[in-house]
Point group: C2
Chain length 418, copies 2
Amino acid sequence: MSETKNPGISRRLLLTGAGAGGAGLAVGALAAAAFGGQLPQKPAADTVDFYGEHQAGITTEAQDRMHIVGFDVTTKDRGRLIELLRDWTAAIEQMAAGRPVGGGGSYDAPPEDTGEAEGLSPAHLTVTVGFGRSLFLDEHGKPRFGLEGKLPEALIELPHFSGDMVEEARSGGDIVVQACANDPQVAVHAIRNLSRLGFGTVRVRFSQIGFGRTAKTTSAQQTPRNLFGFKDGTANILAEDADALAEHVWVGAGSDQPWMEGGTYLVARRIRMQIETWDRSSLREQENVVGRIKSTGAPLSGGEEFSEPDFAMAGSAGPLVPVDSHVAVLHPSAHGGARMLRRGFNYTDGSDGLGRLDAGLFFIAFVVDARTHFVPLQQAMSANDAMNEYLRHTSSGLYAIPPGIQPGQYLGQQLFEG
Amino acid sequence: MSETKNPGISRRLLLTGAGAGGAGLAVGALAAAAFGGQLPQKPAADTVDFYGEHQAGITTEAQDRMHIVGFDVTTKDRGRLIELLRDWTAAIEQMAAGRPVGGGGSYDAPPEDTGEAEGLSPAHLTVTVGFGRSLFLDEHGKPRFGLEGKLPEALIELPHFSGDMVEEARSGGDIVVQACANDPQVAVHAIRNLSRLGFGTVRVRFSQIGFGRTAKTTSAQQTPRNLFGFKDGTANILAEDADALAEHVWVGAGSDQPWMEGGTYLVARRIRMQIETWDRSSLREQENVVGRIKSTGAPLSGGEEFSEPDFAMAGSAGPLVPVDSHVAVLHPSAHGGARMLRRGFNYTDGSDGLGRLDAGLFFIAFVVDARTHFVPLQQAMSANDAMNEYLRHTSSGLYAIPPGIQPGQYLGQQLFEG
């Protein structure tokens, strides 16, 4: 639409009073000032601190909605990549505080913020950024962005697990960005505005919406139910458990890459549930598969939800908690004490061509080292877990999550300047 | 898993106390009683009446989340189809009241309810059921289910509109079921349990999740913003406006099919927004496309959000509200006064292969007759609306929504027994 077609800003602003400063606006004031001028101020509550020792969105009490995106970096220019990380840092700081992205603009430029979160609460928005192995090494093993020597040993290529039906287009990626909020529009707004800032530098590789957290993440939070109808994440590491976090989640001072100190690793797996099959299995079968009572979440060996399962307790026909049940196969006692901080979400993505809903769990876990805290567990699960019959893993990703930052720093600065 | 592998219900129930009646349960009590026995009772609040003159989910204050599914009927047996509608009616009544589906079951049968909504509020769940033209006539024009003579004239095949890129697999369907709630898990639970009841009778044709309503639906509700960042649905028909509902939404006594009296028609269009293109257009362009101020929602001719646009008001270069703006092209004054009850949702469905987010509006409108209240408006929009440049219509559907029912009746009874 041409500029002459409409008399434009000055007339309209004068007519509607949508301006912060009358005549000044008529000769080219900042659109953002006008844009913000008539909107209600957002509440300062409902915010999660963006800055800190660790990134937000890891031990933050799990929100109800998630939008996670894997990006591939399309530039070869290290400076441009760093510039994007700076831009993202500034934008995330603004959005986490409930402010629009950007600082101004004119009527003849695109708005710096896309606008759909205007008037909404920040809804506990957190944005968590991490780096895939492919950011460090290309598919031929050649270093990228001068990051040779910075690849953590723990940032392995995840192996193929028995039964995996992984789709490459949903997996991996150079950069992962996880946005969580209690309002889906706020999470989507965050990802969209970061994607927009990344235009010409990164390209969306995959994008996934999730809802209804699938783990208890603080002592105050109730344990939610997953799409199998069972309580999930009963034995999760809680935000208050500093010892468990130090042991199982945060990378300590002794790692091979000092820039990862205070960071962690994010494991992502899109796990489609064969819910039509599950829904036709008996309650007895379902409880034996999970190893827990469906109504209460208590282990089949008795007690209540938070009772430790007793794998030795036997009935007339064998252990009350079957040896191939999910809880038995993945219990820390079978894996040298290894525990994960789980923080996944349910998903429902339309239907497949066979008249079935495409639904399941977008599994997210934060671990200190996937080699000890994820791979052996997933191997055990794919080999022995009775639940496998009802699952199909359709994506796989592992990302190094750098530590948090302080004001003035940018996300990933420890990697690029450490 | 065999029955002998685990000593099963009696042992476990006795061990955990998860039963309502001790020894009675040990010899085969209802699993549902045990399942429900230890769970907190759901609040009676947060419910929407299922029974009434009209179906719920039309004038109900729009909830924040939606799961809509199109089903194809795979049986040729009219009795079986009616049986399904009876089963659905019973299940919807239970779920709308916050109760699990079904009345019982045994440990050796699949649970009648899939369980993932246990412990959640009913979250204002509404489920709205409608019938597509293909339920009445097959692709060769032959009657199905003895419904010859029952096809309303208004249940037309929607025409192809200029620029449509409609995917058949996302469109049409014999039956549509719209579940709305303020908790996505509650909406998903409803659709999943209805799909499950329909196994062998219907097959999922398409399934769509939406969030963040895109219209103001009651006088108390704020106008939300769509993914273009603009307030949407400012001039919508409100639930309190009985005269407008009678004129533009509810089918009256004089229609050609008496069974539709008190019913309406649902138009569904999945409208992908080219958000990357939109996000690169200037604020001036965006406002000229919409015809409204982005910050306030006021028409470009002045006033505030709810001011009527003045299409005659001209500036030095033409009308302040451009003639090809969305508000000008679709205004009732251009369409014989026709208005719609809009009740759509935003969607974000991952990304396409080109690194762009697949996001937009799942448009839903309820109208008394699509021939007067939708087709001419869509034709005008596809021919003249400046917004088209940023939209791609990827699905299309029209469904007859029968009136509401009273206890003892089943959804669609007016059609099959009227």
